[in-house]
Amino acid sequence: MATESSESEEEGKITGGNQHLIVEDDLREMGKKAAWSVSSCKTGNGVSSVRDDNLETYWQSDGAQPHLVNIQFQKKVKLQLVVLFVDFKLDESYTPSKISIRAGDGFHNLKEIKTVELVKPTGWVYLSLSGNDPRETFVNTFMLQIAVLSNHLNGRDTHVRQIKVYGPRPNSIPHQPFQFTSREFITYSIVR
């Protein structure tokens, strides 16, 4: 799984954050296939800033809490990890504090699957979507919603600089029940 710094499972609090984004090889970023939208934004700081791979630009909300980022896919996808870049040193009262992640088929049946509380985060924050059950390693869903419920220092609006969503890599060979691990199998499994 992705590296996390000082997360305590019971309380769901996360502090710190990595400066570098390090994700395992068998995950791939799924955000490109989704439609992204936000509940509100200030002009010039819209949703595209949260997907532009630029940590200088950020999304700034402009309305009532909770602030929502909606990620909608055209078909059900398996998601495993959400990574946010938030920085208390840069954003202070705009830094999100309580975050809730919801999943469902659409706006009408979103269900919360994870809540975390960030305490002075300083970089990439990894939010795993897996449950304890091995059957729940992935969330298989049409839509994901990231809700910022409250900010540090009770700020009204929030800044999020980057969001990435990860899911497992599909089997490179279709119609195989399991993926291959050994070199002999992989070598013979494709023609390039």
Partner: protein, 751 residues
């Protein structure tokens, strides 16, 4: 003035001073606007990569040689329909194609790239029949899958053909009245208009200009320059009549030019050992042969009006110098032949190089041929034309033939030709077999080559490709690295090498290769293919796609780049563009089985099983020995519920390549879905011995045991599978399966 200018132009071309050549040639053309000068100017432009300029100045010209040059310019500018009309007018279907073998070859290429396979094959075959040493045509035929056996093409008939052609040239020069001779002489006279031009170049050039064919020209210039130049003369051994003819051909200009010619020859010949001299002379004949073939076709049209006048001049002049030439020449006959024999190996080497150049860059080869036609004398041109027109020896016993200035007795010529043909036969057979994917046979054929040929870049990379097709990646890697050591500048086949390294997951070597290739040639598609493979290995599919697209931009006719683009699109799950890329690849090369396979895979993912089966079937037809394709064909058949056929194909795949574990695994899968659990388990037990660290084998076994309700065994195998570190999805699947071990299968929707 014209003569001087022409001579300077050709000298500049020979010495690669293209700007100088273009400038002078433009002045020449402005002063004396003749068709010949126009052709020379076009040749200068083509040499300087300005095909567009040549296109504009040659537009509308009608003479055969001009049409040929125009077609070359159009081809380079990708205006294939204009090129085609230039070469063979639509309204004269029976019209003659300029430049014989070269024209047919160019036409064949045009047909190939405009999807008219049969016509392409027809023209390549014609080109080969006219010029049996036109390797590039044989290569194209192999790629199209229509090559005849090399022994037939490069066999006895070819040797006789070569002999006849040299002989014919000899005879032609002998008889003033013969048509060829007229043509030749008229051509020479045309060249005489710019006499210095012919004289200034290497012997070959001057020979060519003088007579337009190998024998005469070389001899006469050699003979003519004899007084000044002791160097070349030992190598020229012309039959006296020929000598006389030759000398007669360019008497007045020759006299003027003898000195420069002689001095050139001096420079050319005496600066090296006899060997090197021979080398240059060897090169000359090659080029000459090409000229000869083209000459016969062209000269009629080009010089018909000036023929009679010139021939009279010719005959008149010939007698004058006969004696001088004859004496000069005759004495050197024996020396010459022995040297020629010695140099035949050199010629082979030069031939090889010419071949590889022809292989690597068709346009360049064509360009050089065009330049030949324009009588610019360029050494590289020479060497490529060397490949196409190698030493043709006269068949006449006792008669000596002038082959590019090297006079050889008839029998030696025959043996020289047959040596060359022997070499080409082996190479051709090897190449044909590897295009038919009979790779083991191809490897055996290449092993028959003598060491000095085997250890060359081209052959080693062909060997590497053959191993690659046999899915023998380690051997392939060795062969390719040897190829790189031997010719580090050569990019031919390096795209396949990068794929081999990709398969072997050698990211260090792959990135090193990519960097080396880019620093060697940033404009070669192979370099970018290597870079793309490097990124793809690191799973950065977007960057690798960009790199493959660059490769496509650099050479849209490089099929493999399109296929690799397709693979990357599929990895990015962009199936529409993937299909387009694969189809582009197939447009270029219908027999590129990787593209067929790629399409089959896309349709398999999209569950369009009939399409999938069709495409895998096409790939299988092209490469019936690939066990990987067979196993995928079996998967597609199984998906179509043709399980019996599927199992049969899997068995064949297992037999075809013992080292491939995949067909066994797929067979077990199929058997399991057919509920033949025991058979499936048997296969998997075998497979376990073969690949003990493969998690999916144990996972599948666990699944089967679960179905048979043998829970302990299932647990055991699931546990082993988990220990072998499968991917995240599989971990989830297996763990879920373990939890549900005691749940009957109908309720189990996960596995």
């Amino acid at each position: 003035m014209e003569a001087i200018l022409t001579e300077r132009v050709q000298n500049s071309l020979r010495l690669f001073m293209f700007k100088n050549a273009i400038f002078l040639c433009e002045r020449l053309f402005a002063e004396f606007p003749s068709e010949v000068n126009l052709q020379l100017l076009a040749a200068c432009y083509l040499q300087n990569n300005q095909a567009y300029s040549a296109y504009h100045i040659l537009k509308g010209t009608q003479t055969a040689q001009s049409r040929y040059l125009f077609a070359i310019s159009c081809f380079q500018m990708d205006l294939l329909s204009e090129a085609e009309t230039a070469l063979c007018h639509a309204n004269e279907p029976g019209g003659e194609i300029p430049n014989g073998a070269a024209g047919h070859y160019l036409l064949g290429l045009i047909y190939r790239y405009t999807d008219r396979k049969k016509s392409a094959i027809h023209h390549f075959r014609l080109a080969l029949s006219i010029d049996p040493l036109l390797w590039a045509a044989y290569e194209e035929l192999s790629v199209l899958g229509a090559a005849e056996e090399a022994t037939a093409v490069f066999g006895e008939a070819a040797a006789l053909c070569i002999q006849k052609q040299y002989l014919h040239q000899g005879e032609a020069t002998l008889q003033i009245s013969s048509e060829d001779y007229n043509l030749v002489s008229s051509r020479n006279f045309a060249s005489e208009d710019a006499c210095p031009r012919q004289v200034k170049h290497t012997q070959g050039n001057s020979y060519r200009d003088i007579l337009g064919n190998n024998h005469g020209a070389a001899v006469s210039s050699g003979a003519a320059s004899q007084p000044q130049n002791d160097g070349p003369s030992p190598f020229y051994n012309t039959p006296s009549p020929m000598a006389s003819q030759l000398s007669g051909v360019a008497p007045p200009p020759l006299c003027r030019n003898v000195q420069p010619n002689g001095s050139n020859l001096n420079k050319g010949n005496t600066d090296g050992s006899p060997r090197s001299v021979v080398n240059t002379t060897i090169q000359a004949p090659r080029r000459k042969f090409v000229d000869e073939g083209k000459l016969r076709k062209i000269s009629g049209r080009l010089f018909s009006n000036s023929g009679p006048r010139r021939s009279t001049r010719l005959s008149g002049d010939s007698r004058a110098n006969t004696n001088a030439n004859a004496s000069v020449v005759a004495g050197n006959g024996t020396n010459n032949s022995s040297k020629y024999l010695g140099s035949s190996k050199l010629s082979s080497v030069a031939l090889r190089k010419g071949q590889s150049r022809a292989n690597e860059n068709i346009e360049e080869g064509l360009r050089t041929e065009a330049v030949d036609d324009a009588r610019a004398n360029m050494v590289p041109v020479t060497s490529s034309s060397v490949s196409s027109g190698d030493v043709r020896s006269h068949g006449q016993d006792g008669a000596t033939v002038l082959v590019g200035g090297v006079v050889i007795s008839g029998s030696k010529v025959i043996s020289g030709a047959s040596e060359v043909l022997c070499l080409l036969r082996t190479l051709g057979e090897g190449y044909r077999l590897s295009c038919l994917y009979r790779c083991q046979d191809a490897l055996d054929t290449y092993l028959r080559l003598p060491h000095k040929h085997y250890n060359t870049g081209w052959v080693m990379s062909q060997v590497g490709k053959a191993h690659f097709e046999l899915v023998d990646y380690l051997e392939a890697e060795q062969a390719f690295s040897l190829a790189r050591r031997v010719s580090p500048y050569s990019l031919e086949g390096m795209d396949v090498y990068s794929t081999v390294l990709y398969h072997l997951k050698e990211d260090m070597k792959l990135s090193y290769l990519a960097q080396e290739l880019i620093s060697t040639d940033r404009l070669a598609p192979q370099s970018w293919c290597a870079v793309g493979n490097c990124y793809s290995l690191q799973k950065d599919h977007e960057t690798s796609l960009k790199n493959f697209q660059r490769a496509v931009q650099l050479n849209p006719r490089f099929a493999y780049a399109h296929t690799l683009c397709g693979h990357e699109y599929v990895a990015l799950e962009d199936f529409e563009n993937g299909i387009k890329s694969y189809q582009n690849a197939l447009c270029i090369d219908y027999r590129h089985y990787n593209a067929w396979y790629g399409l089959g895979m896309i349709y398999l993912r999209q569950e369009k099983f009939e399409f999938s089966e069709h495409h895998f079937g096409m790939a299988f037809q092209i490469n019936p020995r690939s066990s990987v394709i067979m196993s995928f064909l079996g998967t597609a058949l199984h998906a179509l519920k043709k399980s019996e056929d599927a199992i049969e194909i899997m068995d064949r795949a297992i037999l075809a390549d013992k080292k491939n574990p995949l067909p066994m695994y797929q067979k077990a899968n199929i058997l399991m879905s057919l509920e033949k659990f025991d058979d499936a388990l048997e296969v998997l037990e075998d497979l376990k011995e073969y690949a003990p660290h493969e998690s999916s084998v144990h996972a599948l076994m666990g699944k089967i045991f679960k179905r048979r309700n043998m829970h302990e065994k299932a647990m055991l195998h699931f546990g082993i599978a988990l220990d072998l570190k499968p991917s995240a999805i599989d971990v989830a699947t297996i763990k879920a399966a373990i939890e549900k071990l005691h749940v009957p299968d109908e309720l189990d929707d996960n596995l």
